[in-house]
């Protein structure tokens, strides 16, 4: 277990780092837009000094653009905060819908850089589980990351959670390139401990072009 735990810790840190990198890139983009708007205000001030007339609507546009970016940054930081708090308790009750929603938001930039659209079709009802939230996110991210390379030509991944008698399942659908994807190395990587740690099971269904993650309702139940 020691080696497996060490590997999971290392890959978990890599997952955390990747998300932090994506978040920092998004925040930098927000800052760049606010910076340009501030610069434009400065340009307008210079023009007014020189006697030019600036339409009030142009100033309102700048104000609205800055407010839009502040709201965007607020969402990014809230998501970062939720990710950071996912390691507060080793095991706790969660709603799988919330975890998937957060994961899709956090990985938006990574997906878009790889030219992939990720669509989560969340469940209307809560999907309550008692699990280690950070490791669950890490496992689901690993599946999403792998799925991004197995979409085939469509470049769309659908993520669908579903309640089962013993817990829940998450389907990663639309993987037209699954047959040609390197399944064995990916499975071997996860078998190093992550699936064991949260008692999850993975199924690669090439015929239906999907990955299915099965998760127990309570990690402590036998």
């Amino acid at each position: 277990m020691g080696t497996k735990f060490g590997t999971v810790t290392e890959t978990g840190l890599q997952f955390f780092g990747k998300m932090a990198l994506s978040i920092s890139h998004e925040i930098k983009n927000v800052l760049a837009i606010i910076n340009e708007n501030a610069g434009l205000l400065g340009d307008f001030a210079l023009m007014i000094d020189r006697g030019a007339a600036i339409e009030p609507q142009r100033l309102k546009n700048i104000s609205q653009a800055v407010m839009k970016q502040v709201r965007r940054a607020d969402n990014i930081v809230k998501n970062m905060n939720r990710l950071a708090h996912s390691v507060d308790k080793s095991i706790e009750p969660i709603d799988l819908n919330d975890i998937l929603e957060l994961l899709v938001a956090l990985s938006d930039r990574v997906a878009s850089t790889r030219g992939v659209a990720v669509q989560a079709k969340l469940n209307q009802d809560a999907l309550k589980l008692r699990i280690a939230p950070f490791f669950l996110m890490h496992l689901l991210w690993s599946c999403m990351d792998f799925a991004m390379g197995a979409t085939g030509e469509d470049k769309i991944i659908e993520i669908v959670p579903q309640k089962t008698a013993a817990g829940a399942q998450v389907f990663f659908k639309g993987l037209g390139g699954l047959a040609g994807a390197p399944l064995k190395p990916f499975q071997a990587e996860l078998d190093k401990g992550l699936t064991d740690l949260i008692k999850a099971e993975l199924e690669f269904d090439v015929e239906n072009r999907e990955i299915v993650v099965t998760i127990a309702e309570d990690i402590d139940s036998e």
Binding site: A32, E36, G39, D43, A65, T113, G115
Partner: protein
Amino acid sequence: MSEKLLIIDDEKDFLDIIAERIRAHGMDVSTVTSVEDALNMVEEESFDVVIMDFMMPGMNGFQTLKAVKQKKPGVQIILLTGYVPDEKRIEAKALGALDVIEKPPDLEDLIGKIRSLKTP
């Protein structure tokens, strides 16, 4: 003759304003939000400088840099990115980039770099 620029960034809100501010310095600025459109424009038109975001959908900055250089070896390229570790800067320059600048960029500095290209 004014400098002719192409700016590539998928953040349209950023693109529109920086283009407006650079135009105010007398430069001829075109903008695109996708790498595909950028490569088409580079092929069809002649630009002095291409300024591009490093993390674009579908292709990373190094791939885009190589593709642009393949089409127009003489074009100068400035990469914009959130964070510039030394190895990224070195690799970009080895691939022919003029510079790698962190976001948010200092406009006066950027304008200065572009103008220096035309100074004999």
